[in-house]
C-alpha cells in the first residue's frame, strides 16, 4: 500500500520559501565562527518524556548530538525476577503506557510459549481487538503530541478527545483506562462486557471523523508540511542497521510488520494492509501512522464479524451473592451453586464459569478456576490456592523463549528464562523505541535545531519502555 504523500509542489510552491536560498554569512572582520553547546532536557517543554540531548550547534545547524537516557529507569527486569509470573503483568502496563494492552499480550505470549499453552479462539480474538484498540490510542497520542509541539494545538485537543473515547472503552473492558493488566497466562481476564461491540464500533465512527478533520488540518497545511517534509530523514539501510522496526521502518519503504511477517493471534485471518512510505522523513512517518489507525479499526471490525459466540457472565440468569455462595458451598449445597453465577466485584466480571472456557486455556496448572468453583467446591478452592499462594503459583518448564509482537513502535519482544520455579529467572524486554533513539543523532545531525522537535515527536519515544 502506498500513501497519498505528494501534495503537488506547484500548487503550494513558494508560499513561504519565496525562492530564497539559505545564505552562508561569513564572520565579520576580527571575529571567528565557532560552534557552541546546548543542553536540551532532561526536562524540556517540547520533549514529552524525560530525556537529555547534548547538542553541538553552529548557528541554527546541529553539528553533533548525543542522547542520554535512563531517567525513568525503574528496574522492570530486576523486579520481574522477584515476583511470581502473573505478578509481572501489571508492570508490563507501565512499559509502553500508551498501548499497555500490547505489552500485556506480548509478555503473556512469551510465557505461554514456554508452557506450551493454547489460548481459546475467543480469547485470541479478544486479545487481537484489545491490541488494535491500543495501537489506535498509541498512534493518536503520537500524532497529537508531535503536532502540538509544532504548534497545532487544536489537533492535539481533537485527538486527545478521540483517545479518551477509546480509553473509556478500554476502561469498560479491563477496569482501568491505562493500567489495564488485562491478560493472564493462558488467556484474558474476562470476556467482553455486554454491548461492547456496538459501543466500540460507534466510537470508531467518532475516531474516523476526527481523523478526517485532523487530516484536513495537517496534511496539506503549509506550516506543518514544511516542518515535516524532508526533515529527520533516515534511509532503509540505516534503519535496518539500527534494528529499527514498526512505523518508523515502514516509513522508509520496508514493509516489515510482525503481524504480517510472523502472524500471531488471529492476524492471519483478517485482511489488512501494511502502509509504507518512500522517503523515511517525518512526513512519511505521520502518514504511515494515520493510515495504520484506519487499518487497525478495519482489523477490529473483521474480528467482531469472525468472533466465535461467547457468554458474558452478566447475561447469565441467576446471580447469587458471592458470600451466600461460599456459605452454600460449605453446607454442601453444590447443586444450587452449579446452575448459578457468582455475583462478584466489578473487577472480576466476565470470568464466571460460562465465559471462563471461552477466554482462558482450561489448564489447571496455569489458570485460576472460575469463581463458582472456588466458592463452591474444595477442588476449586485448592486449585485457586495452588495458583495464588506464595511459593506455589504457575511453574513454566525450565527453558527460554522469545516471543515478539507488533507494538505501537515496532517489534516488542520478551525474552524469558525459566528455571522451573514460580518466578521468572530473567525477563528481557526488547523495547522498540530504544533502537530508534540510538539512531536519533543520525537523523538530527546536519538539520536545523527546529527540526529536532519534529523528528523527536515522530520517534514516539515512550520513556517507560525505553528506560524500563
Amino acid at each position: 500500500m502506498t500513501l497519498p504523500r505528494e501534495i503537488s509542489r506547484t500548487e503550494n510552491e513558494g508560499l513561504f520559501s519565496m525562492g530564497r536560498k539559505p545564505v552562508d554569512i561569513p564572520p565579520a572582520a576580527g571575529r571567528e565562527k565557532r560552534s557552541y553547546y546546548l543542553n536540551m532536557g532532561p526536562q524540556h517543554p517540547a520533549m514529552h518524556g524525560v530525556i537529555r540531548l547534548l547538542l553541538e550547534l553552529e548557528g541554527e545547524k546541529v553539528r553533533d548530538a548525543e542522547v542520554e537516557i535512563g531517567f525513568l529507569h525503574r528496574a522492570f527486569e530486576k523486579h520481574a525476577e522477584t515476583e511470581v509470573w502473573n505478578n509481572v503483568i501489571p508492570w508490563t502496563d507501565r512499559l509502553n503506557y500508551v498501548s499497555p494492552l500490547i505489552n500485556n499480550v506480548g509478555y503473556c505470549m512469551a510465557v505461554e510459549k514456554l508452557c506450551g499453552l493454547h489460548v481459546p479462539e475467543r480469547g485470541q480474538y479478544i486479545r487481537t481487538i484489545a491490541c488494535e484498540v491500543s495501537r489506535v490510542t498509541d498512534h493518536l497520542t503520537c500524532v497529537a503530541a508531535s503536532a502540538m509541539e509544532l504548534g497545532a494545538f487544536t489537533v492535539f485537543l481533537y485527538m486527545m478527545k478521540a483517545r479518551e473515547t477509546m480509553y473509556q472503552l478500554v476502561d469498560k473492558l479491563t477496569g482501568a483506562r491505562v493500567t489495564t493488566s488485562y491478560t493472564r497466562v493462558g488467556g484474558v481476564k474476562g470476556d467482553l462486557p455486554p454491548g461492547f461491540e456496538a459501543e466500540l464500533l460507534a466510537a470508531f465512527a467518532g475516531v474516523r471523523g476526527i481523523l478526517r478533520e485532523v487530516d484536513g488540518l495537517l496534511t496539506k497545511n503549509r506550516i506543518f508540511y514544511d516542518r515535516v517534509n524532508k526533515t529527520g530523514v533516515i534511509s532503509a539501510a540505516d534503519a535496518l542497521a539500527y534494528g529499527i522496526t514498526g512505523p518508523f521502518l515502514r516509513s522508509t519503504g520496508v514493509p516489515y510488520d510482525v503481524r504480517r511477517a510472523q502472524p500471531y493471534l488471529v492476524y492471519d485471518r483478517v485482511d489488512f494492509e501494511v502502509p509504507v512510505g518512500t522517503r523515511g522523513d517525518n512526513l512519511d512517518r505521520y502518514l504511515v501512522r494515520m493510515a495504520e489507525m484506519e487499518q487497525s479499526m478495519r482489523i477490529v471490525e473483521q474480528c467482531f464479524k469472525q468472533l466465535p459466540a461467547g457468554k458474558h457472565s452478566l447475561e447469565e440468569a441467576e446471580l447469587i451473592e458471592a458470600n451466600v455462595m461460599v456459605d452454600e458451598g460449605k453446607r454442601g449445597n453444590i447443586g444450587k451453586i452449579w446452575d448459578s453465577t457468582a455475583k462478584v466485584a466489578a473487577n472480576l466480571e466476565g470470568q464466571a464459569r460460562a465465559a471462563h472456557g471461552d477466554v482462558l486455556a482450561q489448564e489447571p496448572r496455569f489458570d485460576l478456576p472460575p469463581k463458582e468453583e472456588t466458592y463452591g467446591s474444595i477442588e476449586g478452592l485448592m486449585r485457586h490456592f495452588e495458583i495464588i499462594m506464595w511459593g506455589r503459583g504457575i511453574r513454566p518448564p525450565a527453558g527460554e523463549a522469545y516471543a515478539a509482537v507488533e507494538g505501537g513502535n515496532g517489534e516488542l519482544g520478551f525474552h524469558i528464562y525459566s528455571d522451573g520455579s514460580d518466578r521468572a529467572y530473567r525477563v528481557r524486554c526488547r523495547p522498540p523505541c530504544l533502537f530508534i533513539m540510538a539512531a536519533l543523532p543520525k537523523m538530527l545531525i546536519g538539520g536545523n535545531i527546529a527540526d529536532i522537535i519534529a523528528t523527536f515527536g515522530s520517534v514516539n519515544m515512550i520513556a517507560g519502555e525505553l528506560d524500563r
Binding site: 534494528g243 516489515y256 504480517r260 528455571d419 522451573g420
Partner: protein, 211 residues
C-alpha cells in the same frame, strides 16, 4: 535456508567451536566459543544474510538451579535435561545472546531468525564489539555492561546506558540485592515522630533478595 543448512554453514566455518545448538524454526540457537563470536556474527551478517540485529542481552546464571556457582544441587531440577543441562554444565557465569533476523527488504517478510550465544566468566571481558557491523550494538553493549558488568574486550571505556556513572555494581547480577538503594543525595533525617525510611521493613523479604 533450513536450520540444518544454517548450522552446517556455521560448523563448517567454526568447527568444534560450535559448542551446542538446538531449537527449531525461528527459535534456532547456537552456542559458540567466546573467542569466535565475532567471526560467527560476521558470517551470519555476510554469507548467511542475517541483516538485522534484533537484540543483544545477557543472563546471569549464578543461581541457575544445579549450576556449580549456586552451591545448591537440586536433583529434581538437574534431571530435566536438554537446555537446562547445558546451562549447568558449560563453564562461564554469564550467557550473552545476540538475536538475529534475516529480513527481506522488498517483501518485509522474515526469512529466518537465530540466536547466537556465548558464555563469559565473572571478571573477564566479553567478545569483541560488533558495533561496526550493526550500529545499534553500541547501545546494547552499553546496556549489558551497565546491568551485568560484561563489556566487549575492545571497548575499555564503556559508558553506562541507563544508570548514572556513580552507580556501584551491576543490578541485574543475581548477587545484587533487590532492596539495595544508592541515592546520590543522602535522605534528610526524618522529622520527629515519623519513621525514617531506613527503618521500614523491606517489602521483599526473601533470603537472597535482601542484603
Amino acid at each position: 535456508m533450513t536450520e540444518t543448512e544454517l548450522l552446517d554453514a556455521l560448523k563448517a566455518a567454526l568447527g568444534a567451536d560450535v559448542l551446542a545448538a538446538g531449537g527449531v524454526g525461528h527459535d534456532l540457537w547456537a552456542q559458540v566459543a567466546k573467542g569466535r563470536v565475532r567471526e560467527a556474527l560476521q558470517l551470519f551478517k555476510g554469507t548467511l544474510g542475517f541483516n538485522v540485529l534484533v537484540d543483544h542481552t545477557a543472563a546471569d546464571l549464578l543461581k541457575w538451579p544445579g549450576g556449580h556457582w549456586a552451591g545448591v544441587w537440586d536433583p529434581c531440577q538437574a534431571t530435566q535435561g536438554g537446555e537446562h543441562e547445558r546451562r549447568t554444565q558449560t563453564d562461564g557465569r554469564f550467557e550473552l545472546t545476540w538475536r538475529l533476523m534475516r529480513l527481506d527488504e522488498k517483501s518485509g517478510l522474515v526469512e529466518g531468525r537465530a540466536a547466537l550465544k556465548c558464555r563469559v566468566s565473572d571478571g573477564e571481558a566479553g567478545p569483541p564489539s560488533v558495533r561496526d557491523l550493526w550500529p545499534c550494538a553500541d547501545w546494547l553493549e552499553r546496556e549489558v555492561w551497565d546491568m551485568f558488568g560484561v563489556k566487549p574486550n575492545n571497548r575499555p571505556d564503556l559508558k553506562r546506558l541507563l544508570l548514572y556513572e556513580e552507580f556501584k555494581g551491576h543490578p541485574l547480577r543475581k548477587d545484587y540485592p533487590i532492596a539495595k538503594r544508592q541515592p546520590l543525595v543522602a535522605p534528610l533525617p526524618a522529622p520527629e515522630g515519623r519513621i525514617a525510611p531506613e527503618q521500614l521493613r523491606p517489602r521483599v523479604t526473601d533470603p537472597g533478595l535482601v542484603e
